[in-house]
């Protein structure tokens, strides 16, 4: 199993550009999450999904969108990138009703200039 994979690993965007951060998991987990982490800080939840076709907002959803068309994939879309979105983005998944353990991907480091 590859676990949770994220692409790209690094990206530089100009203000106003858009991009999609890709996330995939091969563990057949129902729950998936997107977080952002600013330097030296904890993680803040952007969006999450409890299954294909179902998504919900987290703590900091403004400026982002998600979709969940399959169990495996959970892309995060940034529209009109702003410097405040410079951060490291982590995707995670969790097995339903087994435990609260979340499995994290390696992250995408995004810089908006």
């Amino acid at each position: 199993n590859a676990g949770v994979t994220q692409t790209p690993k690094f990206r530089i965007l100009k203000i106003g550009q858009s991009m999609t951060l890709q996330c995939a998991q091969d563990m057949n987990h129902n729950y998936m999450y997107w977080y952002r982490q600013d330097p030296g800080m904890g993680l803040k939840l952007i969006y999450y999904s409890v299954g294909a076709g179902i998504t919900d907002k987290g703590e900091v959803p403004n400026g982002y969108n998600v979709s969940r068309s399959t169990t495996e994939d959970f892309p995060l879309r940034l529209e009109l990138a702003a410097p405040s979105q410079t951060s490291v983005y982590f995707c995670a998944s969790r097995e339903r009703e087994i435990s609260y353990e979340q499995y994290f991907g390696p992250g995408t480091r995004l810089t908006v200039t």
Binding site: Y33, M41, G42, L45, A92, Q102, F104, G105, P106
Partner: protein
Amino acid sequence: TQLLEQSPQFLSIQEGENLTVYCNSSSVFSSLQWYRQEPGEGPVLLVTVVTGGEVKKLKRLTFQFGDARKDSSLHITAAQPGDTGLYLCALTGGGNKLTFGTGTQLKVEL
């Protein structure tokens, strides 16, 4: 909104020393997790504590859940450079979501 604060924010110690980091919540929670994050990687789960007063050990790491279920601590005995990383607590309230603490950045030097 439930707040989860960790202290200290930064800790730099010598190899062989002992240390304790703390996690405190503004309200009671059902269970709590501790994660460790190494530079350039995602967090990895260390332990989940669910019972007030519970103590769990993982080699040189000892985790304690407060009796009142509002706090937790992580104690490391004889720290090693491999313990260096960001330690995050996360509470498991609110159904499907985790709320992460602010983190303790630990550096263990030779």
